[in-house]
Structure formats: structure tokens, C-alpha cells
């Protein structure tokens, strides 16, 4: 039924490979997965089936067999984790004993809860799919091209690749993404660092090592809010400790004990500022991207542009952004590629045409 090929005979058929030229798969995406040689396909059918993350065209790295994903340059994430863990450890080791004795024993409990929440939110933000849109299949891209050509005027200049839609009585221009070969849905932007179109793209955060988009914005928000609480908490506790402590004490130990204070002092302002900014964004249902570009604040010179996605109610906006049902990942990274060498049309960079299977049946 399915074209399960006899490896011995199939190898011979595959080596003819004329069928490769028939299908115009050379919409050609320049991406990571190199096309396997003809002989290797037999090895694939006999060996383990490959998962889709192995042929993912964006610049992401996958761990745990596709369960965890990060951007290619996740350089600063270890630093973020390291700073948080180190500062918190110093706090627990040096300040908690003193404060438990002199103030209250709730302090380590609160600190511990905040710390756990911060770390979990950070990991959720970093390792989740931010809302990546899979690239258009070859058929879909061809259909879209045809639509663009059909609607083009007869002038020689190529038409600008935008599509206008009306959302809540507001005109929104959708741009065509040349990498992903599709018109980007509203609020979607292409991240050049990750080479993916991300839905409701907020920004690419180097501290977190991932893009912040539709699927992980709430974790990012939870992370920065809880981090500002944690930083302020540690700052307060260490200050209390140092002021309450009777002996002055100089030397290395004191310096180490004071280091959380310094780290927190410098970071609390920026993190608080960031939390405040994102609280404003959440309340007005905006993304950082839109805010920076001034898409809805009338900077483009057009008359009253209002944000068409806002519910015009702070509570409703907050609920929509933070408590909406979590959409699923669209890239299905742990799904299997089919065993036939003609992979599904969802992977446009694969070279083998869909009809190979059928043609092989006639040859064999």
C-alpha cells in the first residue's frame, strides 16, 4: 500500500534519480539540513526514522530529542542563570541564618519560593517554542506566487509584496516573507537571529537566549516580574543584615557577603524598569516590536490609528495576553518524517519529489 521499497531494488531505482529534476523543488531554501546522498536513503529506511526537528530550517538548536529548543546563539543564558543562582546562593548562605535569628524565619521560605519561580519561568521562556510559524510548503508558496502574479498590474515594476486586510475597521498591511515564502499573519515578524517567523513577535531576548513571542510571552513576563521581586527582596534583606550586624568586619568574607547587594543594586533598577514597561504593554495589548515602530501611535502620519487588537479595557487586555489558552506549537518538532524518501510537503527544502513513490511502484 505505502511505497515501502525493497532496499536492494530500491537502491538501484534511486540511483537513476531522473525524477529529482522533474519537481521544481528548487525554490531552494539555503538552510542547515544538507540533502542526503542517494545511498543514504536506504540507510534511513532501515535505520531509525528521523524526526522533523532534525531537518528544521531555522537557526535553532534542539536538545532531548526535540523537546527543548533554544536559539542558535544562546550565549548569555548561562550568564543569566549563573548570576541568579550565585546571588541567591550567597544570600541563602550568608544572610538567611542571621535574619532567621534576628527577624523572622519566613525569609528563607519567601526567598526560596521566589527563587524557584524565577528559575522555572526562565527555563520555560528559554526552552519553549515562542510561536514559530513553519515555512510554507512548495505547493503553498507556488499558489501564493500565482496569486501575486494574477493580481499584479501590467507594469514592469514588480508589485510590492504586501496584502492589506481590515482588522476591526483598521487597515493593516501584511508583508510577504521571502524566507518563509508566505504573507506574514498580523503581528508576526521574522527574527533574523533565529531565521524564523514568530507569531506575535515581541523581541529576541539575548538574556533568555530565545525569541519572545505568542507562546512564551507570559513566561517571560512572569520571569521579569518575579525577578524584580526577588532582586528587591534580596537587596532589602542584605541591607537589613548589614545594618543590623553589630561588628563592622572587613576582609574577604564581608566583601563576598556584600556582593549580592551590589549585583542587586545594579540590576534592580533595570529589571524594575523592564517590568514596568512590559506591564504597560500587557495592559494595552501591544508588543515591544509595535511599540518601538510606533505602528499604532500615529507616527506613520496617517489619521487616527488605534491598536485593533486592544480590547480597550486594561483588565481584558491583561487576561487576553496572560491568561488566554496556550496555543500549541505549530512546528511539530518531535513528529516523524515519513519513511518514504519523499518527505511531507511541509519540508520544502527536501529534494525528493512526492511522486517518486508512485513511479517506483510502476518500475518495480
Amino acid at each position: 500500500m505505502s511505497a515501502r521499497r525493497d532496499p536492494a531494488g530500491g537502491g538501484g531505482t534511486m540511483k537513476n534519480c531522473e525524477y529529482r529534476q522533474i519537481e521544481p523543488q528548487g525554490l531552494g531554501t539555503p538552510n542547515a539540513a544538507p540533502p542526503p546522498p542517494a545511498g543514504a536513503n536506504d540507510a534511513d529506511t532501515r535505520a531509525k526514522r528521523r524526526r522533523k526537528w532534525e531537518v528544521f530550517p531555522g537557526k535553532n538548536r534542539f536538545y532531548c530529542d526535540g523537546r527543548i529548543m533554544v536559539a542558535r546563539q544562546s550565549g548569555v543564558l548561562p550568564l543569566t542563570l549563573g548570576l541568579i543562582v550565585l546571588t541567591s546562593c550567597l544570600f541563602f548562605v550568608f544572610d538567611c541564618p542571621f535574619l532567621v535569628e534576628h527577624v523572622t524565619s519566613c525569609i528563607p521560605a519567601i526567598g526560596g519560593a521566589l527563587f524557584a519561580f524565577v528559575i522555572i519561568s526562565l527555563l520555560q521562556t528559554s526552552f519553549r517554542d515562542p510561536g514559530i510559524l513553519p515555512r510554507a510548503t512548495a505547493d503553498e508558496a507556488a499558489y501564493t506566487e500565482k496569486q501575486i502574479d494574477d493580481s499584479a498590474s501590467s507594469s514592469y515594476r514588480p508589485p510590492p509584496r504586501t496584502l492589506e486586510v481590515i482588522i476591526n475597521q483598521q487597515v493593516v498591511k501584511l508583508k510577504y516573507c521571502f524566507t518563509c515564502k508566505m504573507f506574514r499573519p498580523p503581528r508576526t515578524s521574522h527574527c533574523s537571529l533565529c531565521d524564523n517567523c514568530v507569531e506575535r513577535f515581541d523581541h529576541h531576548c539575548p538574556w533568555v537566549g530565545n525569541c519572545v513571542g505568542k507562546r512564551n510571552y507570559r513566561f517571560f513576563y512572569a520571569f521579569i516580574v518575579s525577578l524584580s521581586f526577588l532582586t528587591a527582596f534580596i537587596f532589602g534583606c542584605v541591607t537589613t543584615h548589614l545594618t543590623l550586624r553589630s561588628q563592622g568586619g572587613k576582609g574577604l568574607i564581608t566583601a563576598v557577603q556584600e556582593s549580592p547587594l551590589i549585583v542587586c543594586f545594579f540590576s534592580v533598577w533595570s529589571i524594575l524598569g523592564l517590568s514596568g514597561f512590559h506591564t504597560y504593554l500587557v495592559a494595552s495589548n501591544l508588543t515591544t516590536n509595535e511599540d518601538i515602530k510606533g505602528s499604532w501611535s500615529g507616527n506613520s502620519g496617517v489619521q487616527n490609528t488605534v491598536n485593533p487588537y486592544s480590547y480597550n479595557n486594561i483588565f481584558a487586555n491583561c487576561c487576553a495576553v496572560l491568561c488566554a489558552p496556550l496555543p500549541p506549537s505549530l512546528i511539530d518538532r518531535r513528529g516523524f518524517l515519513p519513511t518514504q524518501e519523499s518527505p511531507p510537503a511541509a519540508q520544502p527544502q527536501v529534494e525528493l519529489p512526492v511522486f517518486v513513490g508512485k513511479s517506483d511502484l510502476t518500475v518495480v
Partner: protein, 158 residues
């Protein structure tokens, strides 16, 4: 008109793979029903009837299918008491609850997959059409594959 197609379909039903069907019969064309963004970013598809399907299926049927899909997607993304409760519960457990529980959206996606399978079995496959679940295309399009009319020949041996 298409004696072999339902037989093939019952075979593929065992493997639950729409792609097998695609590779057995020859494809005449593909139509992509685009998203409808007039109400915002929620997942809705246009109900405009594509001209390529005029000879295969009637407009009412097609619109009915799309409208039902739209309603199902709206249900998935609905902001209501239930979704808030789920959100709050998830937040309190630091989202670890999703390791053992399925989100509301995922539950509705399963319903949608079942509906599409059912529509394919009852309405589209007998007419030589195949609906692809939008989730396989990134919720961007409803891909409808139009198979060649095989009334004169066998599908297998072409």
C-alpha cells in the same frame, strides 16, 4: 466514478495518514483556503468558495465545513471562565501541570482532527477531494487536494 478511492481510503484509515492517499492517486491541483483576519488574530478561515472546486462540490457543503471549523477554532481560543481558571492554576503550579494535563486548546484540536477525518470520509473523499488539517500547515491554510478524475483508469498503475 471513483471506485478505488474509498477502498484506498479505508486502507489509509488504518495508518491514519492523509499523505498515503496523496501519494497513491494523482493530484490534479491544490487549493489553499486562506485565513480571515477581519476579526483579529484568532484562527478563522475565509468562507469564500474557490472557483477550482465548482465542479466537485457544492458551495453550501464547503461553507458548512469551513464554518464549523471556524467555530471549533473560536472555541479553542475562547477567553472565558474556564481558560482563566486553567491559566491561574497553571501559573500557581509554575506550569508544571501541563506535564500531566492537556490544555484546552489541545483538546479542541483533537476534536477538529476528528471532524476533518469524518468530513473526508463522508463528503470529500467520494468526490476526489482531500482536506488537510490546518495544523499540519501551521494553521495558515486549509489545503484541499483535488485528485484527478479516475473514472477511466486505475489509480495504482498509472
Amino acid at each position: 466514478a471513483l471506485p478505488h478511492l474509498p477502498a484506498l481510503w479505508s486502507n489509509t484509515r488504518k495508518t491514519h495518514s492523509l499523505q498515503d492517499l496523496r501519494q497513491q492517486a494523482s493530484i490534479a491541483a491544490k487549493v489553499f483556503v486562506q485565513r480571515d483576519y477581519t476579526t483579529g488574530t484568532i484562527c478563522q478561515f475565509q468562507t469564500k468558495f474557490p472557483s477550482e472546486l465548482e465542479t466537485r462540490i457544492d458551495k453550501q457543503q464547503f461553507e458548512e465545513t469551513i464554518r464549523t471549523l471556524n467555530n471549533l477554532y473560536a472555541e479553542a481560543e475562547k477567553l472565558g471562565g474556564r481558560s482563566y481558571l486553567e491559566g491561574c492554576l497553571a501559573c500557581v503550579t509554575a506550569y508544571t501541570i501541563f506535564l500531566c494535563m492537556e490544555t484546552h486548546y489541545e483538546k479542541v484540536l483533537k476534536k477538529i482532527a476528528k471532524y476533518i477525518q469524518e468530513q473526508n470520509d463522508k463528503i470529500y473523499a467520494p468526490r476526489g477531494l482531500l482536506l488537510t488539517d490546518p495544523i499540519e500547515r501551521g494553521l495558515r491554510v486549509v489545503e484541499i487536494t483535488i485528485f484527478e478524475d479516475q473514472s477511466n483508469g486505475r489509480i495504482e498503475g498509472r
